[in-house]
């Protein structure tokens, strides 16, 4: 595997490996940070007809960081990253994971499953009084995969996603990306706010 692809996968693994920890009901006390590849993971497979998803709920104050990270991930998948870009991607991911994303059970993402037909799900426990971006990654349905697969093929595992920004592709500088309709959403105490997303094949 190319070095850039490996490093990209490491960053992606920051978010995703913890899904496996949650799925395996690993003890939080056994973890160091959000990623511990030293643990043994069982294969994980979504129930028939459903797909595993992870949702990043990002503080809107981190808009630029989120943009740059998505830009670099897209660029990394398509043309690869230089050393400095890989460093920047790592910096962005760390900054988001440590302070820009709402944590659920200690993990910097929300994890659930969805079916094949349009529907809805709720993300409870979001700190009120702020605006958030909601970024969804849907993994290929029925796919059984391990940590090694994630390191090797993150792009291949992400089946669908919603686009928070327009155009959200690396061929346009992330500084020029604009918000899609409905983003971000403001969360108020004791209330539920709706966000409508369209899941598409990654551009």
């Amino acid at each position: 595997m190319k070095k850039s692809a490996f490093l990209l996968a490491r960053v992606a693994g920051l978010f995703i490996a913890a899904v496996f920890l949650a799925g395996c009901y690993a003890q939080l006390a056994d973890q160091k940070g959000y990623l511990n590849l030293g643990l043994q993971f069982a294969d994980r497979q979504a129930p028939a007809g459903t797909s595993e998803i992870i949702v990043l709920v990002a503080n809107s104050g981190y808009e630029d960081t989120l943009k740059e990270m998505l830009y670099l991930i897209d660029k990394g998948k398509k043309v690869g990253l230089s050393g400095s870009e890989t460093d920047q991607l790592t910096t962005d991911a760390k900054q988001l994971a440590t302070s820009g994303l709402v944590k659920f059970g200690g993990f910097p993402f929300y994890q659930t499953t969805i079916g094949s037909n349009p529907g809805s799900f709720q993300i409870p426990g979001v700190p009120a009084g702020r605006d958030y971006f909601v970024k969804i990654f849907v993994f290929s349905p029925g796919v059984s995969f391990t940590v090694e697969d994630i390191d090797a093929n993150f792009g291949g595992l992400v089946h669908l996603e919603n686009l928070v920004f327009n155009p959200e592709v690396y061929t346009t500088p992330w500084q020029n990306w604009t918000l899609n309709l409905g983003q971000p959403v403001e969360v108020n105490a004791g209330q539920s706010v709706a966000v409508n997303v369209t899941l598409v094949t990654p551009p």
Binding site: V55, S99, G105, Q122, I123, V187, A189, G190, T198, L199
Partner: protein, 221 residues
């Protein structure tokens, strides 16, 4: 004879003053990585930058997707991040104060401002929305957000309202109003919910005391 001696002393002082100005009034590329270009004042064309190249006042620096450059301003250094456009508006030294003014229309830079013996710094970066003015410190800015990693930076909105942002803190300017910064901004950035429980698929309950919590309902298609 006495007059000649005084004239020589004055001449020497003038020479020293010129040398002093000259020492600060230079910006030089220390390193260049990827596509980095420079447009000299009064010229339309761009030329590739290289390590050791001097950057004249009013020149504009542009970095590409993977481009990155480190410039030296005397003892201070400036890292220009990818996809940045930066103009050097002023480099001067007067009364032992080294004055540097940069314009940042787009992109991100990181500055480490250091003083040489006997010389103070007046270093500022202007964008459409804010001005970051520093004296002997380090910071990173894209013109809207300011992250300080050493000492304190005065962060001014375009209307001149100032907020001090200290090391480890960030500030955000939206243009006309008072920039947010310091502890308030740090808490706004970082006070996400670390106390949600690990039950089933996702967290329920918890929240930081006093902040309250809400729910996001995602309707997907």
């Amino acid at each position: 004879m006495k007059r000649i001696g005084i004239a020589i002393i004055i001449a020497l002082l003038l020479v020293l003053a010129v040398v002093d100005v000259g020492a600060q009034s230079r910006a030089v590329f220390r390193t260049v990585t990827g596509k980095v270009e420079i447009q000299n004042p009064g010229e339309q064309s761009w030329q590739a930058a290289s390590a050791g190249m001097e950057v004249p006042i009013r020149a504009t620096i542009s970095t590409g997707f993977g481009g990155r450059a480190v410039l030296e301003f005397g003892a201070s250094t400036l890292t220009v991040r990818p996809l940045t456009r930066l103009r050097i508006d002023e480099l001067s030294t007067q009364n032992n104060v080294a004055r540097t003014i940069l314009s940042l229309p787009v992109g991100r830079i990181r500055a480490e401002v250091k003083s040489t013996a006997g010389t103070a710094n007046d270093f500022s970066v202007r964008s459409a929305l804010s001005t970051a003015a520093v004296r002997g410190t380090g910071f990173e800015t894209d013109g809207v957000r300011l992250s300080v990693f050493e000492s304190t930076v005065a962060f001014l909105s375009q209307s001149g309202i100032s907020t001090n942002v200290s090391a480890g803190e960030t500030g955000v300017s939206s243009g006309g109003g008072s920039p947010s910064g310091g502890t308030d901004q740090r808490e706004a950035n970082t006070a996400v919910n670390p106390y949600t429980s690990l039950t089933g698929s996702g967290g329920i309950g918890g929240g930081l005391p006093g902040l309250g919590i809400g729910t996001i309902t995602v309707n997907w298609q």
